[in-house]
């Protein structure tokens, strides 16, 4: 006899962090799947969104806004530039202002649509009046200082 349904006692069930991690993993896996269809990773799509809204932004600022370190921005920017999705113009001797190419704008529009539908699908059950409170709660958690 197969007893697949044996319920385990989960001492982590009362930890908010445990559920936060599980929820984030599920959301990210779905997002990755949605964006893979247009050959973008979540981090790449987020960067395109930010560049679209802030033309001329440097990769350092994009990284700071998204929580991605400088060292990890370099290969991503190189990838997007090689695909012809973004272009750079020097703003001073060491920085480059990034902007979307025509193709980059088209891809970014698709990414935006997919990301919005994705977010709505996962968060659609949350009453609109509670979403801002949830966002504020999550933002506060993200900014909790580390001891």
């Amino acid at each position: 006899m197969t007893r697949r349904s044996t319920t385990l006692i989960n001492p982590l069930a009362g930890h908010v962090g445990f559920h936060l991690r599980r929820a984030s993993a599920a959301v990210m896996a779905d997002l990755a799947g949605q964006l893979a269809e247009i050959a973008l990773r979540p981090a790449e799509a987020s960067a395109l969104m930010l560049i679209a809204a802030n033309p001329g932004v440097t990769q350092s600022k994009v990284g700071r806004a998204l929580g991605i370190q400088r060292a990890n921005m370099a290969p991503m920017v190189a990838r997007l530039a090689e695909r012809g999705l973004i272009a750079g113009a020097p703003v001073d001797g060491r920085s480059t202002g990034l902007s979307l190419t025509a193709e980059g704008s088209a891809i970014a529009a698709q990414a935006r649509s997919r990301m919005e539908q994705h977010d709505a699908r996962f968060m659609g059950d949350i009453p609109p009046g509670e979403r801002d409170a949830l966002i504020a709660r999550l933002a506060a958690v993200a900014k909790t200082r580390t001891v």
Copy 2:
């Protein structure tokens, strides 16, 4: 003049998923730091908690409860067994029931204490009456079916 404080427009700021990911990343980074002091990874500590509460559980069940695939449980179990934290007794020809050794129980107790303090530090600002609702919300998000 350095303009570090230029505020970028973030089109993702209204997406719950964006903040969910940032919050989870911050929490996980802190948890990893807390557990590194007792030489445990978050996934290992979670597994020890589950084995402590369910002696004789198989690694497959631990994986299912934590969202870790069979293939990724194997090396973790081998690591914990090699350190002498867990031991296994055959339950049938293909499964092994896992339990904590004396040393494993001691480490698990430390892990539990650290994880509870960690969770309390991040979630302490949330009114107790709202925590269950937040957990329920996150659990629902985690179970949202993927299209």
